[in-house]
């Protein structure tokens, strides 16, 4: 289990119906690529977040399949439409089976 994995999201707290908003997400995670070797020369096994999804009230905004070439502390910025009041749900899937989630509610302005 990767330690100290902390998701962070920047999303507006309110928006008008149909408004386009910018979402920024960051999650602290080493994204061990599987290319590095330890001091004994053994390859450190890959352990990354391999998928990130963002939904709003159950509808997909973005779904990203991630490879080891995504930097440590994966960062994504993208745009979403807010049709109505509701919740953004962010999910990160780790190779080790862990799933990290974050929810941000948006009220109608």
């Amino acid at each position: 289990m990767a330690e100290n994995v902390r998701p962070r999201v920047k999303a507006p707290r309110q928006a008008s119906a149909g408004e386009e908003v910018t979402i920024k997400t960051l999650i602290s995670h080493p994204m061990e690529s599987g290319q590095r070797k330890d001091s004994d020369g053994n390859t450190i096994p890959r352990s990354i977040i391999h998928r990130f999804t963002c939904e709003f009230n159950g509808e997909m905004v973005v779904d990203v399949a991630m490879e080891p070439a995504i930097s440590t502390n994966p960062y994504f910025e993208f745009e979403a439409v807010v049709p109505e009041a509701g919740d953004f749900k962010f999910t990160w899937y780790d190779d080790d089976g862990s799933v990290y989630e974050e929810t941000k509610s948006v009220a109608m302005a």
């Binding site: 100290n4 902390r6 962070r8 602290s28 502390n73």
Partner: protein, 285 residues
């Protein structure tokens, strides 16, 4: 803007052979979160004794995207560590059952201005203290807790938290009075050539800032931006960890973090940056 000074044959030889470029530090303004205005380019401090025509923050020597990462607390990955430290600030640790907040309350109020004046003299202890030393003193004496490793992630994150609430304030480290002996020692170290490569801090950061060393853009070597989130190792780096690396890179036996040499050097280097804003945690290459 580069002061004309006698460039050591050492680096000029390499420069001429490789056609090393001099690149102007970029003119740009740093405002963090649209609020914190940073002084990143200012008149020379007293401490540089006329050797630098201006003080320029390391921020100006980095590329466009790197500079942009520091201008927003969300984009700045160093802030992840600050948040971790904030949790730690409110967590009781040690046999006394106290947390930092227990005595200091809100970090943004109680620690405002602290980073800007460190390292500084501690009268009771009779020594110059860095922030790390003070954190550990608080832990061992007041919290009855174990000291943190000097350059450990926990410690560096805590220093970043304390630094973050002083951002925008000018560095204002004392160089006279009880610290003057330590300051003189630090200055001596700054100008001492170390290692097989026989390089002193000044050789790169005073005599050749703005030049390219391989593909790195040499800065003036100020530490107002520490702790630094380096893209290279995607984590926060402490001052002494950087000093240790620099000395090691001259191919010398390097000093240990927390050693009297590095405490003195930190005091001196910090004072060279007097006038620049506290930027830590900053983002560099």
């Amino acid at each position: 803007m580069k002061k004309i000074t006698c460039i050591p044959a050492l680096l000029s030889a390499g420069a001429i052979m490789a056609g090393a470029a001099y690149a102007e530090p970029v003119e740009d303004t740093l405002v963090v979160n649209g609020e914190i205005e940073m002084t990143t380019w200012t008149e020379p401090s007293d401490a540089v004794e006329g050797k630098l025509p201006q003080l320029i923050s390391g921020w100006h020597f980095r590329g466009t995207e790197t500079r942009a990462m520091q201008s927003d607390d969300f984009d700045n990955p160093g802030m992840i560590f600050v948040e971790d430290a904030k949790d730690a600030w409110y967590t009781a640790e040690g046999d006394a059952g106290k947390s930092c907040a227990g005595c200091h309350d809100d970090v943004a109020d109680s620690m405002k201005g602290v980073r800007a004046v460190y390292p500084k003299w501690n009268e009771e202890a009779g020594e110059v203290r860095t922030l790390e030393m003070q954190v550990n003193a608080c832990r061992t004496e007041n919290m009855d807790a174990e000291p943190l490793g000097y350059t450990s992630t926990d410690m560096t994150s805590m220093v970043a938290l304390i630094s973050s609430v002083s951002r925008g304030m000018p560095v204002d480290v004392a160089t006279d009075g009880p610290v003057s002996e330590t300051w003189e020692r630090g200055k001596e170290l700054y100008y001492t050539r170390f290692g097989q490569l026989e390089l002193s801090c000044a050789n790169c950061h005073e005599d050749n800032y703005g030049r390219m060393i391989r593909a790195d853009h040499l800065s003036q070597g100020h530490i107002n931006g520490f702790p630094v989130y380096r893209l290279k190792n995607t984590k926060l780096n402490a001052v002494h960890a950087r000093f240790k690396g620099c000395v090691r890179d001259t191919r010398a036996e390097t000093f240990a973090p927390g050693s009297p040499e590095f405490v003195a050097l930190e005091l001196y280097v910090a004072s060279r940056g007097n006038g620049l804003s506290v930027e830590g945690p900053s983002v560099r290459n």
